[in-house]
């Protein structure tokens, strides 16, 4: 078993400067890299793949320069001087855990030397922007050492180390070069794709090796005949035939390779088409209509709410102001009411003598008996008049007092009503805001649905390419069968010419038998691989899928079509329509089965596998996969999908490392 125990990164992807990640080793095989979107999860997987193999497969541009440029940390590039060397480095330390002490360490390192050759321009937002054509790739160095014996990729030891490194990679990391092994979140190869499954199984049971051996045996057979033919003319004829046969064998190899590439391409195109079909299906016309209907309803609702809010606000503004005036003047009203009350209580309002009469007395300065009024009498009369004035308006002031008191007593209720109307407006505003958000979502969804026509065009292109490739494949098959016929004719001819003088018929017959045997063994190996895969995949799938009691088995037929057989009571049924989550569980089961079958013991990497799984399946995958595979399981996951199951997994985890994006191009890794 081999474990990744340490990673060192320098200016790689979003990791600016140097980062040392110490994973260490433990009996717990689960390592979690926990990071949000843009945290650098896929970049770390890319780092491992690039360090070991010199390339990466996830979203890699076809152009080599662009692919290299994508690996550079742009912050470091921006900070580097023009034409000054800058390095991007990944170093991986693995430890062999096969019971031996001390553990054997294997260190891989890859360094990309680059330099910037153009100034970095600043965008309108002020961001620094390095350009791909402003970067010069200088060289890549790769190296490694085992047991700290410092065998570098130079000098006499180079070949040895290269061979060891190749063996190491092929033994432990097939998952990083074969796409049927890699799971990138929702992007994974569905094992229900027969071409991919055929490739995966035949590669793992070395079916190609049997073909190669068989071809060699056939050549050997002819060589034996030639070797033992003494007649010069016959020997020359045989030479010519063997030469032809060699040419045909080469052509056959080339054609078969081309046909195999065609098969792979056909698989990929079919997969692309089915993905497009799913997208087109999801974005169907019915959905557009539903969204448009919903938009109309929400828009109408918004229109009404806006009008209601406007009306309420208008009313509220006026009422609010009225209330404010009433509130600020309520003391004045209270005072006036108290003052009136004082006069009312007094009860000293004199009999209703006309004010005009009292005035005439005061103005005339005489009483009704014509006697002049004394100053004291004048004063009393003036007071009487004044009080009498109020007395005349007595009823009016009394009413005023009641009205004042009434106005003041109504005020708290008016305030309460005003506040309720404010809350009503707030409520309506909230509704308006949520409706507006929904309208924006609908608009986005409708915009994305505009892609339907784009998808359709892409699909047409794919379909055309598929026809072309299938035509090529058919032509190649015809060519191959023709070449095989010619090869057989040549073999017969060789046998005819050679056999007359052959004394070695026994070895010749033995070879024929061996060739037949090769075919049989090849078929047996493939059948047995398929059976093993069925068995392993069924076991894992039963452990991972929560409706375990209903699963009976997984079947792979001779055309590599897979199906899950469910059982309910005595009845069996086959499920063919899988959700994305179910497909992922199915894919993980196959991936685990492939590893078990092939005996690889290197780490297994799962990049964000949980986003489409519910909590129960996330826990099932994390708990069961480490038991099902012999090696380390490294999962890159998002905090929201990991947090709720952290506790359940704690006992199985060796280390949790957190990836955070602090700034653009400056991510951090912490324990």
């Amino acid at each position: 078993m081999i474990e990744l125990t340490r990673m060192e990164l320098e200016n790689f992807c979003p990791f600016f400067g140097r980062h040392d990640i110490d994973i260490g080793h433990s009996k717990n095989k689960l390592v979690i890299f926990d990071g949000g979107n843009g945290g650098g999860k896929t970049s770390l997987l890319k780092a491992i793949q690039w360090c070991l193999f010199g390339f990466y497969t996830h979203k890699a541009p076809k152009d080599k320069i662009e692919a290299d440029f994508n690996l550079l940390n742009k912050e470091a590039l921006c900070q580097s001087n023009m034409n000054a060397p800058m390095i991007c480095r990944v170093t991986l330390t693995f430890e062999k855990n096969d019971g031996e002490t001390p553990r054997q360490k294997i260190v891989f390192s890859r360094v990309m030397h680059t330099k910037r050759k153009k100034p970095i321009y600043t965008t309108t937002t002020g961001a620094l922007h390095p350009q791909v054509d402003g970067f010069e790739f200088v060289k890549t160095e790769e190296g490694g050492h085992q047991d700290f014996s410092a065998l570098h990729w130079v000098g006499s030891a180079q070949k040895t180390v290269e061979r060891k490194a190749k063996d190491f990679r092929e033994t432990y990391f097939p998952s990083l070069v074969n796409d049927y092994y890699i799971i990138y979140g929702e992007e994974f190869v569905d094992p229900r794709n027969p071409e991919k499954l055929r490739t995966a199984i035949s590669k793992n049971c070395f079916a190609e090796t049997f073909d190669k051996v068989k071809g060699n045996l056939e050549q050997l057979k002819m060589e034996i005949l030639r070797e033992h033919t003494r007649d010069k003319k016959r020997r020359e004829a045989l030479d010519e035939l063997i030469g032809k046969s060699k040419d045909i064998a080469e052509k056959l190899k080339e054609y078969r390779d081309r046909r195999s590439t065609c098969e792979t391409n056909i698989g990929e195109i079919r997969e692309g088409i089915s993905k497009l079909d799913r997208q087109i299906g999801r974005s169907g016309g019915a959905q557009v209509e539903l969204l448009k209907d919903e938009r109309a309803v929400v828009e109408e609702e918004n229109k009404n709410i806006t009008a209601e809010i406007k009306e309420l606000e208008k009313d509220i503004a006026g009422t609010g102001f009225d209330i404010l005036i009433k509130m600020l003047s309520q003391d004045a009203r209270k005072d006036l009411a108290t003052e009136i009350q004082k006069h009312v209580k007094k009860g000293d309002i004199p009999p209703k003598i006309k004010t005009e009469f009292i005035n005439s007395l005061i103005e005339g300065g005489r009483c009704i008996c014509k006697r002049p009024l004394s100053a004291k009498e004048k004063k009393i009369l003036k007071q009487l008049r004044d009080e009498n004035i109020l007395g005349e308006n007595y009823q009016e002031f009394l009413d005023m007092r009641f009205k004042l008191l009434d106005l003041n007593s109504r005020l708290p209720q008016e305030i309460q009503d005003y506040k309720s109307r404010l809350s009503e407006v707030d409520e309506k505003r909230r509704k308006l805001s949520s409706n507006t958000t929904r309208l924006a979502q609908i608009s986005d969804e409708l915009n994305s649905l505009k892609n339907v026509s784009e998808y359709e065009q892409q699909r047409t292109k794919f379909a055309k390419r598929l026809v072309d490739i299938e035509t090529d494949q058919a032509l190649l098959t015809t060519e191959i069968s023709e070449l095989e016929n010619r090869q057989r004719t040549i073999q017969k001819e060789v046998s005819r010419i050679g056999q007359s003088g052959v004394k070695y018929a026994k070895s010749y017959a033995d070879l024929d038998e061996l060739i037949d045997l090769m075919d049989k063994v090849k078929q047996n190996t493939i059948d047995s691989a398929r059976n093993d895969m069925e068995k392993f995949a069924s076991e894992t799938y039963k452990n991972l899928f929560k409706h375990v009691s209903e699963i009976d088995r997984i079947e792979i037929d001779s055309n590599y079509q897979t199906r899950v057989v469910f059982r309910k009571g005595n009845k069996e049924y086959i499920k063919s329509d899988f959700s994305t989550g179910e497909s992922l569980i199915f894919a993980i089961s196959f991936l685990t089965a492939l590893r078990t079958y092939s005996g690889y013991t290197g780490p297994m990497f799962l990049d964000s596998p949980f986003s489409v799984l519910d909590e129960e399946h996330r826990v099932r995958v994390s708990l069961n996969i480490p038991d099902a595979i012999p090696g380390q399981l490294i999962i890159f996951t998002r905090p929201d999908t990991f947090e709720d199951m952290k506790e359940k997994l704690m006992k199985r985890i060796n280390k949790i490392l957190t990836l955070t994006k602090e700034k653009e191009w400056n991510n951090k890794i912490s324990e």
């Binding site: 208008k314 609010g320 003047s329 004045a332 004010t355 004035i389 002031f397 009205k403 305030i415």
Partner: protein, 146 residues
């Protein structure tokens, strides 16, 4: 002494200083297209009463109009407005006689001077509706619910 029947002495229009009516007109013009602005939502009589309230609350000195200009017609004031106006004017002079019908002209004259005193601040407040809303909430908090 004026008889009760002389209540017709009440002015037919309510005036304030022209500088303020001009400012109000200017503000109305400025926010013509904004139906949400307070100036578009309020009645002039509310502005008038509020100016008097503010002048009394803040203790601003009453100001005679240099050039009186019509703000509203007297008839726009309803009985409730009149009640509030009367309480406020009583509060300013603390003499109930000001409320007598024969003193109506005097009452409106006092009101005009008080309105002029508070108008500057209210125009400023109207430019910032948040302040008014805050004031409403603060003041309403002081009122007992029952």
């Amino acid at each position: 002494m004026k008889a009760r029947s002389e209540s017709g002495k009440e002015p037919k229009v309510i005036n304030i200083d022209k500088c303020y009516t001009d400012k109000i007109d200017e503000m109305k013009e400025k926010h013509k297209g904004d139906p949400n602005h307070y100036i578009s939502r309020l009645e002039l009589k509310q502005i008038y009463l509020f100016a008097i309230v503010l002048a009394l609350k803040r203790g601003h000195k009453p100001k005679r109009s240099e050039k009186p200009s019509q703000l509203i017609r007297n008839e726009y004031l309803n009985s409730e407005d009149r009640l509030i106006l009367r309480s406020l004017i009583f509060s300013s002079c603390d003499d109930m006689k000001i409320l007598l019908p024969e003193n109506a002209a005097n009452l409106f004259d006092t009101a005009e001077r008080l309105a002029n005193a508070g108008m500057g601040e209210i125009i400023e407040l109207l430019e910032d509706s948040e302040k008014i809303e805050k004031m409403i909430l603060v003041e309403s908090g002081k009122i007992p619910s029952k």
